[in-house]
Symmetry: C2
Subunit: 308 residues, 2 copies
Amino acid sequence: MAFKLTVLGCNSAIPTVERHPTAQLLNANERFFLIDCGEGTQVQLRKYQLSYQRIGHIFISHLHGDHYFGLIGLISSMHLLGRNKDLHIYAHQQLKAIIDLQLAASNTELNFPLFFHSIADDKEQLLFEDEAISVRNVLLNHSLKCSGFIFQEKKSRRKILKDKVEKYNIPFEKYNAIKDGSDWLDGSGNMIVNNEITIENTSAHSYAFCTDTMYNEALIKKIKGVDLLYHEATFKKELSERAKETGHSTTFDAATIAKKAEVKNLLIGHFSQRYRNLDELLIETKETFKNTYLAESGLTLDFNKLYS
Amino acid sequence: MAFKLTVLGCNSAIPTVERHPTAQLLNANERFFLIDCGEGTQVQLRKYQLSYQRIGHIFISHLHGDHYFGLIGLISSMHLLGRNKDLHIYAHQQLKAIIDLQLAASNTELNFPLFFHSIADDKEQLLFEDEAISVRNVLLNHSLKCSGFIFQEKKSRRKILKDKVEKYNIPFEKYNAIKDGSDWLDGSGNMIVNNEITIENTSAHSYAFCTDTMYNEALIKKIKGVDLLYHEATFKKELSERAKETGHSTTFDAATIAKKAEVKNLLIGHFSQRYRNLDELLIETKETFKNTYLAESGLTLDFNKLYS
């Protein structure tokens, strides 16, 4: 099933003509999760022809503007374009007052239900769960209270083989139990083991989004082995002091966390605007962690095609 | 002296990839006034290589998001880039709380003085004045309390003719009085009339910015004869009912106001996203008012070259 991440922006702090602030869209089996929403995100979604009305859940890491200044505009456009389906926002509590005040200033009563879910300042929690995926926050170490997010797809139930259904004459009402692993006792009293009538379904993908944060070893066990880690790499390694002072990471920090957590792939982003040539950051990161990608606007990573 | 307007965005309500929401930069003799600040304005300023640190005064017409959602990002970037000079914002009072709440959420103490000047809901006032220009608000008729702005350059003082200064041996300390119109009594007791020793300086430019508003004849006498009127024309004239319902104007409304107010030039904007070909709106407007321009992003109008 589809599990794809599209990068909508990768710059830190200040938007430029070429580099937009942080925002990503995760398509997990046609559930659309927006992660962070810097200024201009709604236009980036349009640019890459990603319908913003399909977004059901928005996760905001923290309240520095480059991670959320585009949210009120997106909500406003959803409203003006006639949305009526639910929207869920997961963020630190203060964002609710900011949204409410802006809606009140324009006398706007949204024509869709907006559910605000407050992220605790100091707790890691399950934020969302349905039959296919769960989303948890992880505490990051930044100059402002900040959360990363782990998207964990659930292992799909086993898939029943059609020819075996016919062969053993299995009735429809038994499918659910068999998908969950039950064996099948046929009409003649023969036990058919589950492995013979089902195959394993696709693997369960996992994605960890970690920005903004300084180097933080506490993160390692929480993101262990994920398919893809997005970790900020605001600076090159020569600016490690600056990174510490500002609550950010270097390329080397990101690669070290990826390596120690034995993640399968690494995506770096949140680049300081001082860097014109981002390939230099990629090369530096790959010295420590080979399977690294640069989070450039428009990049789409298909988890079914990533190194696994 | 320079008197130039640059359009940064012209769309109504919803930003698209090609058309940005309302924002304009007026350069009045190297005083930089930003008028409205829709989402993405800071990037538009960068795109057209207009330094946002030179902006001293920002005027916000009203609190629909397409006119101010870019303001907090602009303020934030000014701060991050080390601004220390004063910034003045003129807007309806609620905007102050919105700005304050967002700065507090990120623990930001601006490193420059931000002065907020509240625009009264129901009064027309002088908002800004110095030796070269004054700015007043005018009440518009929209679905939300909304102000237009009139920028009136002051008539420059008369210019002293260098050859006459020498001929009549006029001392430096008399220049100011002569620039203001005084005659000159020379050493032999001869009265030299002011017209002989000075010439008129350049004319005083005027600009009226009027969006969002429905057709409103009360506006006519207030903007009488301005060099340039920006008047919204959200809809083509066939949608005049829709314009009234939403507190907006048609091309015909804008042209009629321009004609009745005997303005010299008209700039139309705030186009509904339904229109792909804006030339159709221009043609329609020109049927009633010939000297009309389309407010497309990047357009710069030099008042010294406009029809006068």
